[in-house]
């Protein structure tokens, strides 16, 4: 297993290399960090522009710029020079990542629990009324635009707040924490949980739908297999067969799917974070785009690509751990 992990990590180096190349070429050719300065009024002196351009390495050929950036990052851990004053890329990345990670992890647990419960239930009662209802609701959530659903929840919460207690908001609708959080560990924890509520509902309901479809399909496949019939035939109780024999095996495909989707969720929380005004990865990204800040943008994209690769590896490893038939040699 250890050797496999190492080998897979080594094999992903060329993938990462080409992916950084593609990302750099696409982003560096479309984002010009000097653009906002040129548009400034009164105009910024030409020398300042040239000096900044030289510092950012803008006057070299594109491929050389890529090489300089890559070697700087790999050899010296240097993420590049941000345009915005007082901006530290590494510090910003880690603080944004933690904020988003909290939201994503929480949402994944909620939506997993929901997806497994609904998927198993629908599979066991296949073609019953409840199955149709559950499947239709799943379809509805699959078709909901995240931004609309998030804005809807936010608007409802604001209405609820003003109806129930006009002077003290019961449901937090903005930010990942209060502007001046309460002192003490537990009050702070409670504050954080309160702010997690609406974004978590949004993300987990949106992602539960496809997972529960997945779980239903794999559960049905297992339930129709011979060893389940055997387990029933030798007299095991329905309950025991369902949970010990069927569910354990039916969970495997979902596990890998969730591992693969996690990376996408971390990057894709952009919309949810924007609606609820969180200061996570989404905010960092949109701010970098808005300020034409090339290097924070590249750093963001590299982290996103790394996450995809790491979670792909986790998916493979999880599969091997769960399915003894697979041997990683």
């Amino acid at each position: 297993m250890f050797a496999f992990t190492i080998r897979r990590l080594l094999a992903s180096i060329p993938v990462l290399f080409f992916s950084t190349l593609l990302v750099f070429l696409l982003v560096a050719s479309s984002v010009d960090p000097l653009e906002p300065l040129r548009a400034k009024n009164p105009p910024v002196p030409h020398q300042t522009l040239v000096a900044l351009g030289t510092r950012l390495g803008l006057y070299h050929p594109l491929l050389q710029r890529y090489w300089d950036w890559l070697t700087g990052l790999v050899l010296h851990g240097n993420w590049g020079t941000p345009v915005q004053p007082g901006y530290h890329i590494a510090a910003r990345l880690s603080s944004s990542f933690l904020v988003t990670f909290r939201l994503v992890i929480f949402s994944i647990f909620c939506s997993l629990a929901l997806a497994i419960a609904v998927g198993v239930f629908s599979a066991v009662r296949q073609y019953s009324k409840m199955d149709y209802v559950a499947t239709s609701i799943g379809f509805l959530f699959l078709s909901l635009p995240t931004f609309w659903f998030a804005a809807l929840l936010k608007a409802w919460a604001i209405q609820f707040n003003s109806a129930v207690s006009p002077d003290h908001a019961l449901i937090d609708t903005i930010g990942e924490a209060s502007p001046n959080p309460p002192s003490g560990f537990f009050p702070q924890l409670g504050d954080a949980f309160g702010h997690l509520l609406l974004p978590t509902i949004t993300l987990s309901l949106i992602s539960y739908a496809s997972w529960s479809r997945f779980q239903r399909a794999s559960m049905l496949e297992v339930l129709n297999s011979d060893y389940i019939r055997l387990a029933r035939a030798k007299g095991l109780s329905r309950r025991r067969v369902l949970f010990r024999h069927a569910l354990r095996n039916a969970l495997m495909p979902l596990t890998t799917q969730v591992a693969l989707d996690t990376a996408a969720l971390l990057g894709g929380a952009v919309i949810t974070e924007t609606v609820f005004e969180w200061h996570g990865m989404g905010y960092m990204f949109l701010q970098a785009v808005g300020n034409y800040d090339l290097f924070p943008l590249l750093a963001w994209l590299i982290v996103a690509a790394l996450l995809v690769i790491v979670f792909n590896l986790i998916a493979d490893l999880l599969y091997a751990v769960l399915d003894p038939r697979i041997r990683l040699a």
Partner: protein, 311 residues
């Protein structure tokens, strides 16, 4: 598989008249169509979507208020003059929603057409030629697939020159360039097994060249999954396009889109004009939901195996 379907439809007429029970011969198309009709949600969705398309594309021709006209009715609720009400600029929401629906569908259908046609040909070529051509082509497709679509669409549309940036075809081109690899992968996987089939060998023995084999013999056999992917791409594109417009990176005023309408109505519920928020959103849900159901119906129709374990 479409293959088994052809076999059911085979054994054509001459013997049929002599049989005790005459069996009606159906073409593959008829079989697929009949199976599609059995999926009730898909049939209802097709009707709803068709109506929506008709109203969105032909409604504005007959409607009294163009979507760009500021009327004197400011923030009035739904009435006979303005069925969906008006916003704070006096725009008639009905004509704006129709126009937005038209935009979203235009973008989604062109993205789906371009990305599936390109992806199918790309995947077919990779699977047909195999070897290093396949390796290089598919590694590149995988690379594009790792780019987060929403994020890249934001970067590119934001930095494009303003003359094209807000145009719908520009947005469509970018999304198509990001979406084709998923179709390419599915088609390639099918072509890999199809190219070993006897009918390909027979075609080659008859002297067909590569192009003829790919386009006349192999690709028609993958049409089922291509249709399903094309449908699901339409649904996915509507969601991404409206999200982009919502975030301010897609369609820009004076043009309008359903995402843009939701954006401008996002505080409307608290402000007491709930129709400005609900109606555009419900239209998005309606479009995506019906297309998803149609995709599900197509999947069942083309792949009878899956109906038993419908996911």
């Amino acid at each position: 598989m479409p293959d088994t379907v052809t076999q059911q439809a085979a054994s054509p007429t001459p013997a049929a008249a002599e049989r005790e029970f005459t069996v009606k011969v159906r073409t593959q198309r008829e079989i697929v169509f009949r199976r599609y009709l059995e999926h009730r949600a898909a049939v209802v969705s097709s009707v709803v979507l068709l109506l929506l398309i008709l109203v969105a594309f032909f409604g504005p021709l007959f409607w009294h208020t163009p979507f760009t006209l500021m009327t004197n009715d400011i923030e009035v609720g739904p009435s006979t003059a303005h069925p969906f009400g008006t916003d704070s600029n006096g725009f008639d929401l009905f004509s704006q929603v129709l126009h937005g629906t038209q935009r979203s569908l235009e973008i989604a259908v062109s993205v789906s057409l371009v990305s599936t046609v390109f992806g199918a040909i790309y995947g077919a070529a990779a699977g047909f030629y195999r070897g290093w051509i396949d390796t290089i082509m598919m590694r590149f497709a995988d690379l594009v697939l790792t780019l987060p679509a929403l994020v890249f669409a934001i970067i590119i549309t934001d930095k494009a020159s303003p003359t094209v940036a807000g145009q719908w075809y520009f947005l469509a081109a970018i999304l198509a360039a990001l979406f084709w690899p998923s179709c390419a992968r599915v088609v390639r996987a099918q072509v890999l097994s199809l190219r070993e089939k006897e009918f390909v060998e027979a075609a080659r023995a008859l002297g067909a060249n590569d192009r003829r084999i790919i386009f006349r013999h192999i690709l028609p056999n993958t049409l089922g999954s291509i249709f399903v992917i094309a449908t699901l791409t339409v649904a996915g594109t509507v969601l991404v396009e409206t999200a982009l417009s919502f975030l301010g990176f897609g369609i820009k005023p004076p043009d309008t889109s359903l995402g843009l309408l939701v954006e401008s109505g996002k505080t409307a519920i608290q402000d007491g004009y709930p129709w400005l928020f609900y109606i555009p959103g419900i239209f998005i849900v309606l479009i995506v939901l019906t297309i998803n159901f149609i995709g599900d119906g197509l999947r069942d129709a083309f792949d009878p195996q899956q109906t038993r374990v419908r996911a």
